[in-house]
Symmetry: D2
Subunit: 281 residues, 4 copies
Amino acid sequence: MKLNVSANLTYEVISSSTIILNIHATRSKSQAILSESFKIDPYIEIEELITLQGENRYIRFEVPEAATINITYNALIDTTFKKTEGKLLKDVPVMQLPPFVLPYLSPSRYCQSDKLYRFANSRFGKIKNAFEKVLTLTNWIYENVEYLSGSTNSETSAYDTVTEQAGVCRDFAHLGIALCRALSIPARYFTGYSYMLTPPDFHACFEAFLGGEWVLFDATKLAPLNGMVKIATGRDAADTAIATIFGNINCTAISANCALAADKFRPFYYNGKTPRGLTYL
Amino acid sequence: MKLNVSANLTYEVISSSTIILNIHATRSKSQAILSESFKIDPYIEIEELITLQGENRYIRFEVPEAATINITYNALIDTTFKKTEGKLLKDVPVMQLPPFVLPYLSPSRYCQSDKLYRFANSRFGKIKNAFEKVLTLTNWIYENVEYLSGSTNSETSAYDTVTEQAGVCRDFAHLGIALCRALSIPARYFTGYSYMLTPPDFHACFEAFLGGEWVLFDATKLAPLNGMVKIATGRDAADTAIATIFGNINCTAISANCALAADKFRPFYYNGKTPRGLTYL
Amino acid sequence: MKLNVSANLTYEVISSSTIILNIHATRSKSQAILSESFKIDPYIEIEELITLQGENRYIRFEVPEAATINITYNALIDTTFKKTEGKLLKDVPVMQLPPFVLPYLSPSRYCQSDKLYRFANSRFGKIKNAFEKVLTLTNWIYENVEYLSGSTNSETSAYDTVTEQAGVCRDFAHLGIALCRALSIPARYFTGYSYMLTPPDFHACFEAFLGGEWVLFDATKLAPLNGMVKIATGRDAADTAIATIFGNINCTAISANCALAADKFRPFYYNGKTPRGLTYL
Amino acid sequence: MKLNVSANLTYEVISSSTIILNIHATRSKSQAILSESFKIDPYIEIEELITLQGENRYIRFEVPEAATINITYNALIDTTFKKTEGKLLKDVPVMQLPPFVLPYLSPSRYCQSDKLYRFANSRFGKIKNAFEKVLTLTNWIYENVEYLSGSTNSETSAYDTVTEQAGVCRDFAHLGIALCRALSIPARYFTGYSYMLTPPDFHACFEAFLGGEWVLFDATKLAPLNGMVKIATGRDAADTAIATIFGNINCTAISANCALAADKFRPFYYNGKTPRGLTYL
């Protein structure tokens, strides 16, 4: 799928500051970057960081003094994904989990799976097939949590959302992750550009490790699963923040877009009786 | 320093379960494992996992049915460490942090540094030298938090401890880490065997990234800094649990020991006006 | 119903302390105290406080110096209650609530109804009859929360219990109250002696204000509703603590008992299709 | 002191709703209401509730259908207060507290004094004189918590504020109350009109029970202590909300004013070495 993505961010820098951005599409076998441009106006030298956390691409730069800076990212991306029969997306026993997947079983800042153990297991624990289990909990979130802009903030976590039942895509994803981990299913946070998201914005979903694959889930159901361009994955939003800021700065504008560049697009959601699981490789 | 360490754990396994242990001393340039034995009685086949998280050594095994199992670990370890002048242990600007250190700036399950930002900065933000800053916050924890066995549990986090002011070594370490990160100083959790700890037990401290080194701090001041044998480092206790259990199991006994095998030992603490910072490499 | 109740408490007083006890049966039209004895050994002068909070009877005394004290309370109580058809136990519109009932609509320390608004309303909001509504939420607690001694402490609140799903009678009551208030049904905490409770102990339930009556509910279902002797009602456990202690004291033993003195006893629970609501007047 | 106070509130009522307002000045020996008008436009019949909680005056009314309503309250108030030497404002031993004061020792929804026990006692416990103690903790709040509009919401409690260190008058008051109670000093929430508050608004402070008086404290230091007109006192904001709403309503405008009607005014704050404590009777 060929998609044009773009991001624009404006910062009012009050004094010398460092910014780490995570808005570049990941580069991988299943996601080719056909063209890409990144610009800071006025010009500032940047550094692209290579991290241990998979293919996330962090841009780090310093703004030496007070300034208004505009950041523009544009890219043409070609994504591929595969779909797998749900019945094949089984629980991977802890004994067989690859070591690099184990950290995604642990509780994290926004996904306190340890506190959701009884809740998750009493409600979803008896469902046999793992894909079915995650679909069911995703539907439970969709039906029980209200999507309400401005209802949460950067401190809101899955433990809040499970009870307060309101939030945005970030909160939906955190709750999905926490419930999976409480069920001993590794799960991680996924940020990306998302085609057909209204209004256009960055998006957050989650991936569960099923049948040896990282299968994508979106409890908001706001956008088709096959229209994503992956920016980053991590334990939760703490690992994958669009922007991490050190200094005295205000973000005055932020926007993201995702448009079809070519190909026909047939939106794919997990509907019907026997959906297949979608994986970005 | 040559130290004999040992651990003994007994589990009552009620039904088929998986256990991941993290009790082996790490193997590194500065920590030589002269001899080592690990035994499960009755015999169970184990797997040693190599992870992305540095040199932590996880042992994974499955207990197929109800059983009482005894785990024994013994090792003779030769540790080395270095001491660095405090004035050299400066803040590393975010721009210069190695990428692999960045995750240790983010909030984690038990170290919600995002919620401690004002507290940390208003109380410790003005101290110039970074080593001094971490020494001061370590002393603040020591003076304000009461060491009280049984006062906390596996859900207790730095956000609780900063107000409730009681806890065990784990809680002291979590608070130290959260305060460092709130001050933009990378910090990580350290578990180990600890010589002269009374009563003998596993111990937890923390390391702050200062002047390019991971410098050790122990807000409990219960044991000398130079008597540690490192088991693991991670974001917090969620990454470095002594035992992670999947299944229906009770731990019925747990103990750890650390004794001097050779060499003279002169306990080292951060005392006096110009202490040097201790680093296990 | 004639019931013999008793309580025994032992305190190790380390230094001069004040104790406020709330273990006396309330005196009311529907609860006659046929005989009663209260003793502290060694003898200490006490004061019985009359409070604004209904008929709660607080005993206040000072232990001037280190001592071991034994407190014994015995009483023969004659309780009466009435049962009302469920269909009569309707929602009282806020406009018609007596002013003294309004405080029981507000959130309190252990019953954060404000944080449970969406949860309560999405799950129970559509049930027409108010008695039916409270019965349903009581059953939901019974089915979803595990009664587990030692799983909670004096800081545990309804906000924890709704997610962590384990607790004791106090936690079950707090959650029931919080859910009622979130549904605009006044609710209060009820402590008492309870016949047929195994093992014998003080008990906690809650009352909801329905059809103009304070109707009793017990989400633990551990004891019949008609075997209670009321000690106190209040907003939550903070108002009705068995003992409130000011000073350096340890409680070394606590027990409570409730036995049938006369009359036949037919245990009454909310069973069947059209239960009637039970009210202690 | 003669003060003109006024309040204006506008509600967009979407469907049949009940509102309970608490904006009327209390009527007491020390606060004479010389004239007063209350108007809802369009006209709605109201009921004034007399409660157990002192002199708080609640107005209850029903809006039967969708409407925009404007509420106007105007009053000319004559307040008196007294000032007492700080050294007379001693701790009242729990043994001597009047029973009606005891509830103000317990933790409440927004003032979790039970969780602040160690913090309060380690920091302020050693100060001998009780007035001095409360002055010191009030200053601590003033110095450590940043007044920041919009930084908190209706769920924010003292437990958050003590660590997150930002809030509005409500949060400053809750923290003051929680710290007092943790020190065994009864404390309650105070809402009122406040002369010289910039920008004009409703205000919240707290009262501590010292030397047998309810002495006023304002940790925000935003307005003189002698320019208040009391609306209500209660355990915390849950008891004294300006407006409690049952139904589908939005508040679209809210304002409050307080102006000098006559008399000279000399602002009184707790300054200098030996301030006297101010009490509204």
